[in-house]
């Protein structure tokens, strides 16, 4: 299958030293790709380069085979949406108004949102089952609900590639799981996801493909089973982990705690 989003040999930096170097990465339709990497590895920056918010210093990003720099922001936005970390706003827009903002590029300077725009926003809210939040202030709903509202905005936008920056950060355990379920569900409907995360477990749970980023370079790209390995996670985060198989072929990643008063027990575990 051809790639919907394709980055080739991309480099980027704000001024001096490059933050990203020689990045090649492609997304196929309906794929869930998880980007793993330690703090400061350039994950968020890479997302912004792929979205066209930052222009790459060298290399090229192509959307549906067309170079990103040749596309107007409006044309990019019709295909690709950015779902930031759930944030707090200075102004208490209603959830409906926030979702409606996804329709802004469908409107000309002279026209306000149409009935059709409002319908798109309503459908997006219903699809994520948060229609009951429509008239609540965005500033007063929970972090998990905000994340769902931002996904709804991406759907209202009409985009089918969703670029998500640490979607589960700040969410409680239940909301994390529900959000992952929602992403898997939308992917099965044909949406494409690229998301960053700090949890190797989440990559093992729902990703079709995992990309490892360290110091601005890609150090691994492939099926989660092959990429999220003990060695790779240790090299990426500099902590020791076990990848254990559980029921139905699921695997999960368990850290080995390095406790000074319990070192020998830890040492035995490694030998075993």
């Amino acid at each position: 299958m051809t790639a919907v989003l394709d980055a080739r040999d991309v480099s980027f930096g704000y001024g001096g030293a490059p933050i990203l170097e020689g990045i090649s990465l492609s997304l196929k339709k309906a794929e869930v790709v998880t980007l793993l990497g330690p703090n400061g590895s350039g994950k968020s920056t890479l997302l912004k380069v792929l979205l066209g918010i930052h222009r790459c210093r060298s290399g090229e990003v192509r959307l549906d085979g067309r170079p990103l720099r040749a596309l107007a922001p409006v044309d990019i936005a019709k295909r690709m949406a950015y779902v930031p970390q759930s944030h707090s706003l200075s102004f208490a827009y209603s959830v409906f108004d926030v979702v409606l903002m996804g329709r802004v590029m469908h409107r000309s300077l002279w026209s306000s949102y149409s009935r059709e725009d409002r319908l798109h926003a309503e459908n997006a809210l219903e699809r994520l089952r948060i229609a009951h939040l429509a008239h609540r202030p965005y500033t007063e709903i929970s972090g998990g609900e905000r994340q769902l509202a931002l996904i709804a905005r991406a759907l209202a936008q009409g985009a089918d590639i969703l670029i998500m920056d640490e979607p589960v950060s700040g969410l409680d355990y239940g909301n994390q799981v529900r959000l992952l379920e929602q992403i898997a569900l939308l992917a099965s409907d044909g949406l494409t996801f690229l998301k960053t995360t700090h949890f190797p477990d989440h990559a093992l749970l729902i990703a079709d493909r995992v990309v490892l980023l360290k110091q601005g370079r890609i150090v691994g790209d492939g099926h989660p089973q092959q990429v999220v390995t003990q060695d790779n996670v240790r090299r990426l985060y500099e902590v020791a982990v076990d990848i254990v198989s559980i029921r139905d072929g699921y695997r999960c990643c368990v850290p080995r705690l390095n406790r000074s008063d319990n070192k020998r027990a830890g040492g035995r575990a490694v030998e075993r």
Binding site: K48, L51, G52, I53, A72, P73, V74, D75, I76, A77, K78, M80, A81, Y82, P84, H87, S88, L89, S90, F91, A92, Y93, S94, F96, D97, V98, M101, G102, V104, M105, R107, L109, W110, S112, Y113, S114, R115, R118, E122, A131, H132, A134, H135, R136, P137, T139, E140, Q157, I163
Partner: protein, 351 residues
């Protein structure tokens, strides 16, 4: 699910979505008519109606001397002042609203980038060196724009397209022109020029003349219209640069357009009536408290509310006390308690 059922209704028409603004516009029209009657010489409503009918008929149907008298009082004195009060209130309130959304901060006012400080310096400079009213107006306008230009220039030096740097540029520019103003005050003649500068800085509508109002009404309305058109982009911009870009909005262009028009109309308010503070900060808050933060409704609503506010305050300033108090002073005295009240009511929003 009751809250949701509400939005299932057909999309509200323009009138029902803006019913607040329409209702308030009617109040504003009534207030401006009432303002024609009150003053040192009270004119009964019947006379005002009679005068305008006579005016329409070309001077017929009214005693000639009475007609002349009312012509001067209503058309040359009161009407320009009423129109100026409404325009200034609306311009400051709408540019304040636009700036608050643009800078993602509800504590921002139109003077953030230095326009008011620059215009104040420009006016004082011309008062000392030219002593001609037109020169004062032109100089105030030009230095208002120069001050904002300086703020933008400082921001551009950093090559970072960041709001924080822009605010920093505004602080520097404001500080520079405030100190230059002090310098002008220091060299001004303390018996003649200095009191004139101080009075002018308090903000007053008594100097407004019909010609200035006629000339400035077009750019002021154009600026407010432009800010109104930018409203749906302002909503998006208040989500942050990255998100706005990803939503397909040309952030740089919208920001330039909004800063240009907000600066222009703020500078023009100084040209008309000197420095009137607090409206640009307080009215957007009151308006947001009443109709919510959606700029598509908020910007026009603030404009109408600002017009009504300054009109009422000006009526107080010219009627309540035996001598006329500068309107800028009354604006502050009334605006500050209102601001406090609204802050206490809405602080939840900022959590």
């Amino acid at each position: 699910m009751t809250a949701w059922d509400d939005s299932r209704r057909p999309a509200p028409s323009f009138v029902s979505r803006h019913r607040w603004a329409w209702g308030l516009s009617l109040v504003l029209a009534a207030a401006s008519a009432a303002s024609l009657m009150v003053g040192r010489y009270a004119v009964p409503p019947g006379d005002i109606l009679g005068f305008f009918m006579a005016l329409y008929a070309g001077g017929e149907g009214m005693d000639a001397s009475r007609f002349q008298e009312l012509h001067v009082l209503l058309l040359d004195v009161r009407l320009p002042r009423i129109v100026a009060a409404m325009l200034i209130g609306a311009a400051l309130a709408s540019s304040g609203t636009a700036f608050q959304a643009l800078f993602m901060n509800p504590l921002v006012s139109p003077g953030l980038l230095g326009v008011l400080a620059g215009a104040s310096f420009g006016a004082a400079l011309a008062m000392v060196f030219f002593d001609h009213w037109l020169a004062v107006q032109v100089s105030a306008f030009l230095f208002g724009l120069i001050a904002v230009g300086l703020a933008l220039g400082i921001a551009a030096l950093y090559r970072a397209n960041s709001l924080l740097i822009l605010v920093l540029g505004g602080i520097i520019s404001t500080g520079l022109f405030a100190s230059l103003l002090s310098l002008v005050k220091f060299v001004a003649d303390p018996y003649d020029q200095l009191p004139a500068i101080v009075m002018w800085l308090m903000g007053r509508l008594s100097n407004v003349d019909a010609r200035t109002v006629t000339v400035l009404v077009v750019p002021l309305l154009a600026g407010m219209f432009a800010l109104g058109l930018s409203a749906k982009y302002l909503n998006v911009l208040s989500m942050g640069d990255g998100e706005a870009t990803a939503l397909g909005v040309n952030v740089r262009r919208i920001r330039c357009v909004v800063i240009f028009w907000a600066t222009l109309i703020s500078a023009l308010t100084v040209v008309m009536a000197g420095r009137i503070e607090w409206i640009g900060l307080v009215i957007p808050h009151v308006a947001r408290f009443l109709v919510g933060p959606n700029n598509e409704i908020l910007v026009p609503f603030s404009a109408v509310l600002g017009a009504l506010f300054l009109l009422i305050v000006d009526n107080i300033a010219r009627n309540l006390f035996p001598v006329e108090v500068p309107v800028g002073v009354v604006t502050e005295l009334i605006g500050i308690p209102i601001f406090l009240f609204v802050l206490l009511k809405t602080r939840k929003e900022w959590a």
